[in-house]
């Protein structure tokens, strides 16, 4: 595999990714339509940075991650990781690629096999990909456990003996033992208690610095993403509707959905009462998305264009890094 990460300085480049799931109906299970779970997503992640993907449940953020790893069949598009076209790679090559991209999952209970010891859970990727066994394996497991803040005696214990936060540390150790270039964190703290969340978020940041990791960070919590990420993309119904650097997005959100999403977060300041900026309605069914902009049924500013054409994701005037898909705000 190539060692220098470029493609114009990007470690990961996703280009017009589409992942559609067929909808089958009737006796013959004929395909009657498609659910466009991911519909034309493009993103690029620089090495040693964090790219955040936020959105509400069902917006397609996890499907993007799975598509990148080819864990589900992709309909069209391009995924270039470390100069390799992932979607064109054969299965042997794909094995190598997967050693360079690892995952941290949301549920620290469901993602660890209860019958395996921590040594086996954390060491398995090394056995599979690097064929390392015996004392060298144990040594590496010990080392990575100490990096994620677990004591050495954890090695022979089982997942049920650990708390949620500690299990998440085990999951992180498993993701890092192969020294991956890209770590996809899928809601890594949303199942954890408040006092544990900050421990794990700090740990992820420390590890990023120490190992120059690149994160694709998937979350629904805008405050968490703000703390962890450099660039943030907001997804709605399979599309990116706005993307900018963290400070730009949080200081100057433009898309009506981003604005409403920020307003909906309960704030810890008693003086300001609940915001009146409320989104009406719910996310439309992805089986029958509305024509035009997918946000139009809930949007407060809708013009003619909004109901006929889907707005493209384009840079806003004066800032090439701030991308927006909205007819109204562009005017």
């Amino acid at each position: 595999m190539n060692t220098n990460a470029n493609t114009n300085g990007f470690l990961l480049k996703v280009d017009d990714l589409k992942t559609y799931f067929p909808v089958r109906k009737g006796l013959l299970r004929r395909t009657v339509g498609y659910v466009k779970a991911v519909d034309g997503v493009s993103l690029a992640v620089k090495p040693a940075t964090s790219f955040g993907l936020v959105g509400e449940s069902g917006c397609g953020k996890t499907t993007v991650a799975r598509s990148i790893l080819r864990l589900i069949p992709v309909t069209s598009g391009k995924v270039i990781f470390d100069n390799t076209d992932i979607l064109a790679a054969d299965s042997a090559h794909m094995r190598d690629i997967r050693a360079g991209i690892t995952l941290v999952f949301q549920d620290p209970f469901g993602s660890l096999n209860p019958r395996m010891t921590v040594a086996n859970i954390v060491g398995e990727p090394l056995k599979v990909h690097k064929k390392i066994t015996g004392s060298e394996l144990t040594e590496q497991v010990r080392l990575i456990l100490s990096k994620v803040g677990l004591s050495a005696d954890a090695i022979n214990r089982y997942p049920h003996e650990f708390s949620g936060g500690q299990r998440q540390r085990i999951g992180i150790a498993r993701a890092l033992i192969l020294k991956p270039k890209l770590v996809i964190c899928d809601e890594p703290v949303s199942a954890l208690d408040v006092s544990i969340q900050s421990q794990i978020l700090n740990l992820l940041k420390d590890l990023q610095q120490e190992f120059s990791l690149t994160y694709l960070f998937i979350a629904h919590d805008l405050a968490v993403v703000q703390f962890t990420c450099d660039i943030v993309a907001v997804m709605y119904m399979g599309k990116i509707v706005e993307q900018a650097t963290v400070s730009e997005l949080y200081n100057n959100p433009l898309h009506p959905y981003t604005v409403a999403l920020m307003a909906a977060i309960p704030k810890i300041t008693v003086s300001t009462q609940a915001s009146t900026h409320r989104l009406k309605g719910e996310i439309p069914s992805i089986f029958s998305p509305p024509p035009g902009c997918p946000f139009n049924p809930r949007c407060q500013f809708t013009g003619d264009n909004c109901f006929s054409q889907n707005p493209p994701l384009v840079p806003v005037a004066g800032n090439n890094e701030h991308l927006l898909a909205c007819w109204h705000i562009k005017k």
Partner: protein
Amino acid sequence: MSDNGILLDIKGLCVNFFTENGVAKAVQDVSFSVKKGETFALVGESGCGKSVTALSVMRLIADPPGKIVAGEIIFDGRNLLELSEHRMRSVRGNSIAMIFQEPMTSLNPVYTVGEQIVETIRLHQKKNEVEAWELATEMLRKVGISDPGQRITEYPHQMSGGMRQRVMIAMAISCEPELLIADEPTTALDVTIQAQILDLLDQLQGQSQMSVLLITHNLGIVAERARNVAVMYASRIAELSDCKSLFDKPLHPYTQGLLKSLPRLGFTGKRLYTIPGIVPEPLHFPAGCKFHPRCPIGCNNKRCQTVEPQLRSLDNGRAVACWFAPGYERPDDPK
């Protein structure tokens, strides 16, 4: 209703779970009161005893293994713990209603939502079938479900999570309860839907003077919605206060740590504050103050390690359980 406007008064509640591995003291000496028409928040992390407290009010603790071993729960002048099961049934779902975190599992998948709401109504009110259906439709309209006449014939799986939670609320308020216990009502929902549901609860409360006991782990929700709040840690109330004072000047080191450790919108620092260690489990509570192993003050203090501070009212109307909180210490305390 007593004169001082207090609807629910919990005094010295203790709940134990008798397990194979020992007695887990899930709730210890919890006391607080909820006034008529107010939203009272019970906030804490998982396993701190907040849900067990709520279930005790409904007398829904599974016995065995659980048992309410001490305390009083005075609701509307009556101690609920002394009522017969028969009389308790007329309280449950009628004057005290409850909504849960997961609206999918708390609705029965094989009945339409209409049938489920009608069942509640007919159980508690003298209404015939037709009147009950009319009331159920009216309730669905009240909780903001469009086209209630159609929706009432649908099954839970045909609805989204937010819609199901609206149905749960419709069912809960159909008997005009005086107290609504909302146990993490929005935790399973997306933020934009969460805001809608909390707005709905506010609005219903404004119409009916219902009290809400809101159980949550989300301090943001507490700050926006509650008037008074009890912070629970390891089976006890660590701090009891009005909301504004709590967020302005938290007294207990646990509350202080929690507030500092939250990632907030607008935070631009490099690292978050962290409370070290993990939440202790009921079977392995540390001696002394249960927070002392994680506390910046208590971890090295002899008294914190050995003597557990009780929740004490301070002069300013707040209450706290910490030896080092200003105004807490009394002359005859152990040193």
